[in-house]
Amino acid sequence: MINALGKDLLALEPLTTQQIQLILDTAEPFKEISERAIKKVPALRGQTIVNLFFEASTRTRISFEFAEKRLSADTVNVAASGSSVSKGETLVDTARNLEAMRIDMVVIRHGASGAAQFLAERIESSVINAGDGTHEHPTQGLLDLLTLRDHFKTLAGRRVCICGDVLHSRVARSNIWGLRKMGVEVAVCGPRSLLPTAIEELGVIVFDRIEAAIEWADALNILRLQLERMTAGYIPSAREYNRVFGVSRERLERAPRDLLIMHPGPMNRGVEIDSDVADGPHSVILHQVTNGVAVRMAVLYLLAGGRPELAGAAKGGR
């Protein structure tokens, strides 16, 4: 094994509790770097990283880019439109061409589940999954864990309910794996048409009513309701969804305790989450974004370099 995480970060499902713990612990000191006047350390100097985004993304792509730059890596962004991908080049050919230019890591976002793993098995560079289809979005899962840990100090025994379109959500899947491994009790809540069948097999509780979820949980992770789902017939309308499943202040006020409110973004205000909840005192949505940079720095740092065969020569220096 090259380092504590291996070559790639493709999903949270195969990670051990210790590996997740290591990433979260490593992220702690990286928070401070973003608070400095000069937000940069030389840890990844000379490493070349390609951000290969086949799907639209603002938050995740910029977060990765900041993380890379604050570690002094050299970065190149490739978007599907405007590149040779739009001319019909295959994913592997694109990546092999990039690799021929001597890169060290690829951060990939792709619409097909399994795309990151497919790539990781075919190139030598480290691959970080920045979201693949409806499979996983591991760094989002990790930043959600870090945000929860910041607020609750310990994770084990806490109760988190993931609300909304779990069926199509890679964020939900990464959250479920990550939270379960850290000993958190997990529930999901949403219309049955947007919950995977047999979701209980992942060890989660299912709530059909948002009121019941709010009564049970310590924190809600509210997923974005992708508006294109309406045309596909999963739900009748955004208004009706808001009336039945929307997280509103009135609903939260009936809860026995204050709930931490999380959302991976981008939000549909007035659909899955009301504005006074998103901007309310218990919302940590922007804290999640801040933590995203620290977590991604930790992942990049842990995957970078590490050639143990050269270690002997460098040992013993103080």
Partner: protein, 183 residues
């Protein structure tokens, strides 16, 4: 094979040495104005705290104490791989015009101090940066020297110097240990 262990400084000697170093720090910096004492993770941090305590008491001052983790500034990250745990850096001041004293337990190759100087530069342009170490064991690989030295100890490459501090190790001492081959 039995491992040789030799205690070079005991707790009282460490205490005495730190008091002298504290005086030398204030002398070198002409008092405590604009003085910031920065300990290097890990044992430099405890030593810096002690020095600040002594200076505060003697000079009736409140000297600022920071800490620095140089892991991300190392020159061997690519060869040895990332250290699993990076310690916290706590330096919430602009260093422009400040008198900064770096505190570390042992000065050996000088590579840690090289990294620390690089990192400090990112926090501002100090008026002066000086270096105080509890033990100078020789063996430099870079043109770096300490301004204030607690004790100079000549040891071979096959020996290691361990500085023990009460906060982490239960007692204060400086010990010379035979280095294991695997180390």
């Amino acid at each position: 094979m039995a491992r040789k262990k030799k205690e070079v400084l005991d707790a009282r000697a460490v205490e005495r040495t730190l008091k002298r170093m504290a005086d030398e720090i204030t002398e070198l910096n002409h008092g405590t104005d604009n003085l910031i004492i920065v300990g290097i993770q890990r044992r430099g941090v405890q030593l810096a705290t002690r020095l600040v305590g002594i200076i505060d008491e003697r000079e009736k001052a409140t000297v600022r104490r920071g800490s620095l983790d140089i892991t991300l500034y190392r020159d061997d990250l690519q060869t040895v791989g990332p250290r699993p745990v990076v310690g916290p850096t706590d330096l919430p001041w602009n260093l422009d015009g400040m008198n900064v004293v770096i505190v570390d337990d042992v000065l050996y190759t000088g590579r840690t101090i090289r990294a620390a100087l690089d990192e400090l530069t990112d926090f501002g342009r100090a008026a002066r940066i000086s270096l105080a170490v509890l033990v100078d064991r020789g063996g430099r690989e870079l043109p770096i020297h300490a301004d204030i030295v607690g004790k100079t100890i000549d040891v071979g490459d096959d020996e290691r110097i361990d500085v023990l501090v009460e906060e982490l190790d239960g007692r204060d001492a400086v010990v010379v240990v035979a280095r294991e081959d695997a180390e």
